[in-house]
C-alpha cells in the first residue's frame, strides 16, 4: 500500500520545527557551525529551494517598489515621492522629485530585477528545486553541490545588480534590453555592473539547467515513465532546455558589450557614430542590430522560461481541485515540447521596426503565428478540464482560475504585435507594456501565488489562512487589472512607453492622460493588497492550521509518498515505486476520489 502508512507520526513535529527555522533562516543570527552548513551552505534541494524562494520574493518586492516610484512619477509628475522620497538620494531625486535620468534607471532595473532575479528564480530555482525531485521520486538533485553553487552565484549576481545603484552615475539606464549604441556610448558605469551581474546570473542558470535536466532524465524512480510525469515536471524540463541553450548567446553578446565598454572595441558601434554632436572616436564598423539579434535570441525563449513553470503549477492545481484527470495530458506534453522548439525561432518579432527587411519580417511573423497554436492548445486543455467538474474554490484554485483569462488576455493581445503591419502602430507604446505584463504579472505571478498557497503545507506542515488568501486574491485581481488594462487604451492612442511624464507634453496623449493617475492608484492599492499575503506567509509558519502530509488529497509523489515537510536528507523513507499516471482523480471503482501514483494495483 502507499507509504503514508509507513510514516512515523512522531517525526513530523520535529521535522516541521526544522523547516520553520529553514523558512526564515535570515531572521535568526545563529552562529553555530551546524546551522551554517545546514541552512546557509546546504546541499539539500529543499533548503536550496527555500533559499531561492525567500531571495526571489525579496527581489520581487524590491522590483515592485521601483515600479511604484515610477508609477508615482507618472501619476503625479513633478510631485515629491511620499515616504521614501528622501531616501532616493539627492543625485537621483532632489527633494524627492524623480529626475528623468533616475526614471530611466528605475525602468531598466525594474525589468532586469523582475525577470532575472525575481520571477525566474522563484519559478525555476524555488519551485523547481523543491518540487521536482519530490515529484519524480528522487532523493535529491543529481548534483547537490552544483545546486548550492547555482544559488550562491545567483545571489552574487543579485548583489552586483543592487550595488550598481551606488555606482557613479547610478544603475544601468538603457532598458532591460540594453540596446547599443545607447548602452555603450552613452550609458553610465552602472551598465558595466549590469553586464557583470548578468554573467553571474547566466552562470547560475547554466548550472541549474544542467542539474534539472540530468535530475529529471536520470533520477526518475522505478515506474516513473515519461507519460507518468506530472505536467509540472515536463514544464520544468522544457524550461531547463531553454535556459541551457538560449542563455549562451546572451553571454556572447554580454562579452562583446563588455569589450566595447571596457576595452573600446566597436562590435556594436557603426562607423561615424555621432554622440552629443561629436563623432565617436572608435574604430567603428560594428552592428547595433547584432546585439538585438543576440539579445532576443535569449530573451524570447526567456518569455517562455517565465511562463512555462507557471503553466505547470496551474496544471497541478487545476487537476487537484477539479478532482478530474487533466483534459488531454498527452497533447499538453507535446504542445509544451513544440512550444519549446518554436520559441527559438521567433525572436526577431521584437525587431520588426528595425528595418531588417520584409523577408525577415514575413518569416518571423509566420513562426510567431505558429507558436500561438501550442499555447492555445495548453490553455484550452486547462479550460476544458474545468468542464463538468465540481470545483473546490480554495485560494490556490482561485489564482489558477484567474490565470486562465489573464494569460488569455496577454496572449491574444500579443497577436497584433506579432503581425508586422499592426506592430508599426503599436510598437513601443504602452500597448506592449500592457501585453507582456498580462502574461507575466496576472499570468505568471498569479501562477506562482497559486504555487505558494498550494505547496506551502508541504514545506511547513501547515496551511496558509484561507480568509487572508481570498482577500489577497480578490484585491490583487481587481487592482492588477486596474494597473494594466488602461495601458491598452493608452497604447492604442499611441502613447510611447518611454515617457518620463507619461505623455503630458504630447497632444495625441491628452485624451487618455487621465488613466495615468488611475493606473498609479491601482498600483499602490495592489501593493496594499499584498500585505495580507506577507502577513499570512509569516504568521502561518507558526500559527497556520496543522495538516497531514496530503491536505489537498493529491495523487503525485510529493504528497503521497513522504511527510510534510519531507525527510531532511533523501526525502523518502523508502524509494517510492510508481504504478499510476499523475492525475488519477475520481477513478471509477476506487474508494477514494484520488488514486496515488504509488498505489499498487489490487489483486483481482
Amino acid at each position: 500500500m502507499s507509504s503514508i502508512d509507513e510514516q512515523h507520526p512522531e517525526e513530523v513535529p520535529e521535522l516541521s520545527e526544522e523547516a520553520h527555522v529553514g523558512v526564515h533562516h535570515e531572521d535568526h543570527g545563529h552562529q553555530e557551525e551546524s546551522f551554517i552548513w545546514k541552512y546557509i551552505f546546504s546541499t539539500d534541494h529543499k533548503v536550496i529551494g527555500i533559499q531561492y524562494g525567500i531571495t526571489s520574493l525579496l527581489f520581487l518586492a524590491f522590483g515592485f517598489t521601483l515600479m511604484l516610484i515610477m508609477r508615482w512619477q507618472l501619476g503625479n509628475p513633478g510631485q515629491p515621492v511620499p515616504f521614501i522620497g528622501n531616501l532616493l538620494g539627492q543625485a537621483n531625486a532632489p527633494g524627492g522629485i524623480v529626475l528623468p535620468e533616475f526614471y530611466n534607471q528605475l525602468g531598466a532595473m525594474h525589468g532586469t530585477i523582475m525577470v532575472f532575479l525575481g520571477v525566474v528564480p522563484l519559478a525555476v530555482g524555488a519551485f523547481g528545486n523543491y518540487v521536482v525531485p519530490l515529484q519524480i521520486g528522487a532523493p535529491d538533485m543529481a548534483f547537490p553541490k552544483l545546486n548550492m553553487m547555482s544559488y550562491w552565484v545567483y545571489f552574487l549576481g543579485g548583489v552586483v545588480m543592487l550595488s550598481s545603484f551606488f555606482a557613479p552615475g547610478g544603475a544601468a539606464n538603457s532598458g532591460w534590453t540594453s540596446y547599443p549604441p545607447l548602452s555603450v556610448a552613452v550609458a553610465t558605469e552602472g551598465q558595466t555592473y549590469w553586464l557583470i551581474g548578468m554573467t553571474f546570473l547566466i552562470t547560475s542558470s547554466l548550472l541549474g539547467s544542467v542539474n534539472f535536466i540530468v535530475t529529471i532524465v536520470q533520477l526518475r524512480t522505478k515506474g516513473m515513465t515519461w507519460m507518468r510525469l506530472p505536467f509540472f515536471v515536463w514544464a520544468q524540463l522544457v524550461t531547463a532546455f531553454l535556459l541551457l541553450l538560449a542563455f549562451p548567446p546572451l553571454q556572447a553578446a554580454g562579452v562583446f558589450q563588455l569589450m566595447d565598454r571596457v576595452l573600446g572595441t566597436s562590435f556594436f558601434l557603426p562607423s561615424g557614430l555621432v554622440v552629443s554632436n561629436q563623432v565617436l572616436q572608435v574604430a567603428g564598423g560594428g552592428s547595433a542590430l547584432l546585439w538585438q539579434h543576440l539579445f532576443w535570441f535569449l530573451a524570447h525563449p526567456e518569455v517562455y522560461v517565465l511562463v512555462l513553470p507557471g503553466m505547470g503549477i496551474i496544471a497541478e492545481v487545476i487537476a487537484n481541485n477539479t478532482r478530474k484527470p487533466l483534459w488531454g495530458y498527452k497533447p499538453l506534453v507535446y504542445s509544451i515540447i513544440f512550444l519549446g522548439f518554436m520559441s527559438f525561432i521567433v525572436w526577431a518579432h521584437h525587431m520588426f521596426m528595425t528595418g531588417m527587411g520584409t523577408v525577415m519580417n514575413a518569416f518571423f511573423q509566420t513562426t510567431t503565428m505558429i507558436i500561438s497554436i501550442p499555447s492555445v492548445v495548453i490553455l484550452t486543455a486547462l479550460l476544458l478540464t474545468l468542464w463538468g467538474a465540481s470545483i473546490r474554490f480554495n485560494t490556490p484554485m482561485l489564482f489558477a482560475l484567474a490565470f486562465l483569462p489573464m494569460f488569455g488576455i496577454g496572449g491574444l493581445t500579443g497577436l497584433p504585435l506579432g503581425l508586422s503591419p499592426s506592430d508599426i502602430h503599436l510598437h513601443d507604446t504602452y500597448y506592449v507594456i500592457g501585453h507582456f505584463h498580462y502574461v507575466v504579472a496576472p499570468g505568471t505571478i498569479f501562477a506562482l501565488f497559486a504555487g505558494i498557497y498550494y505547496w506551502y503545507p508541504k514545506v511547513t506542515g501547515r496551511r496558509m489562512n484561507e480568509m487572508l488568501g481570498k482577500i489577497h486574491f480578490f484585491a490583487s485581481l481587481v487592482f492588477i487589472n486596474g494597473v494594466f488594462f488602461p495601458m491598452f487604451l493608452q497604447g492604442l492612442a499611441g502613447v510611447s512607453r518611454r515617457l518620463y511624464d507619461g505623455g503630458a507634453t504630447y497632444s495625441h496623449a491628452q485624451g487618455v492622460l487621465e488613466w495615468n493617475a488611475f493606473m498609479s492608484n491601482s498600483a499602490f492599492l495592489l501593493g496594499l493588497a499584498q500585505l495580507p499575503f506577507i502577513f499570512n506567509f509569516f504568521w502561518s509558519i507558526k500559527k497556520g492550521e496543522l495538516v497531514d502530509s496530503n491536505p489537498w488529497q493529491a495523487t503525485t509523489l510529493e504528497w503521497v509518498a513522504t511527510t510534510s515537510p519531507p525527510l531532511g536528507h533523501g526525502n523518502f523513507e523508502t524509494m517510492p515505486v510508481v504504478y499510476n499516471g499523475p492525475y488519477e482523480y475520481s477513478v471509477p471503482g476506487h474508494d477514494d476520489d484520488y488514486l496515488p501514483q504509488n498505489m499498487a494495483p489490487q489483486e483481482g
Binding site: P139, A142, L206, V210, Q218, Q251, A252, L263, F297
Partner: protein
C-alpha cells in the same frame, strides 16, 4: 539516501549522471561559441571596409599540432586508467597538462607580437574578434588546466577510495578537452587562413 547513478549507468539512458551533465554543458558551450562565430560572420560580411591583418600562421599551426597531440594524450590517459595502469595514466595526463601549458605560452608569444605591431582589440573589429574569440578559448584552456592539475594532485586520492568514479571524472574531463580542441580547429582556419 544515496543519489542513484552517480557511478553506475542507468540502464534506459545508458549514461551515468556526470556524463550526461558534461554533454549538456558542452551543448551549452556549442551555443556560446556558435553565437560568437555567427557574430564574427555577421560583422565581417556586413562591413565593406573589413581589414584582415596577416597573422602568424606558423605559430598557430604549431599550436594546432600541440592541441591535437594533447587530445591524443588525454584519451591515452583515460584508456590507461581503464586498464588500471595508474603510472601510465599519470604520465599521459601530465603530458596533456604540459601541452596545454605550451599552447598558452605560444599564444602569449603571439599576443606579444601583435601588441608590438600596434594591434590591439580596439584597433578594428577584426582584431577585436581575434582577441575576444582566442581569449575566451584561452580561458577554456586555462579552466581545463586547473581541473587537470587538481585531478593529478589532490584529486588523485580518489583513485584509492572510489576508482570507478575517478575514471568517470577523467572521462568527463576528456570530453571537455576534446571540445576545447574542436573549438580551436574551427578558430584556426576562420581567423588565420580565411
Amino acid at each position: 539516501m544515496e543519489i542513484p547513478y552517480t557511478v553506475e549507468v542507468r540502464p534506459d539512458t545508458g549514461l551515468y549522471n556526470a556524463k550526461m551533465g558534461i554533454w549538456l554543458f558542452l551543448a551549452s558551450e556549442v551555443m556560446l561559441f556558435g553565437a560568437l562565430f555567427s557574430s564574427y560572420v555577421i560583422l565581417r560580411t556586413g562591413n565593406p571596409d573589413w581589414v584582415q591583418h596577416p597573422m602568424n600562421v606558423g605559430l598557430a599551426t604549431l599550436n594546432t599540432m600541440i592541441l591535437i597531440t594533447s587530445s591524443v594524450t588525454v584519451i591515452m590517459s583515460w584508456a590507461s586508467l581503464r586498464l588500471k595502469d595508474f603510472a601510465k595514466f599519470r604520465i599521459y595526463f601530465l603530458c596533456t597538462l604540459l601541452l596545454a601549458g605550451c599552447f598558452m605560452v605560444v599564444k602569449a608569444i603571439e599576443y606579444n607580437q601583435e601588441f608590438s605591431q600596434g594591434l590591439f582589440p580596439w584597433s578594428d573589429n577584426y582584431m577585436g574578434i581575434y582577441f575576444t574569440l582566442t581569449g575566451l578559448h584561452g580561458l577554456h584552456v586555462v579552466g581545463g588546466m586547473v581541473v587537470i592539475a587538481y585531478l593529478l594532485g589532490p584529486g588523485a586520492k580518489m583513485w584509492k577510495t572510489a576508482p570507478e568514479q575517478y575514471v568517470n571524472r577523467i572521462e568527463s574531463v576528456g570530453l571537455y578537452w576534446h571540445f576545447v580542441d574542436l573549438v580551436w580547429i574551427f578558430l584556426f582556419p576562420s581567423l588565420y587562413l580565411l
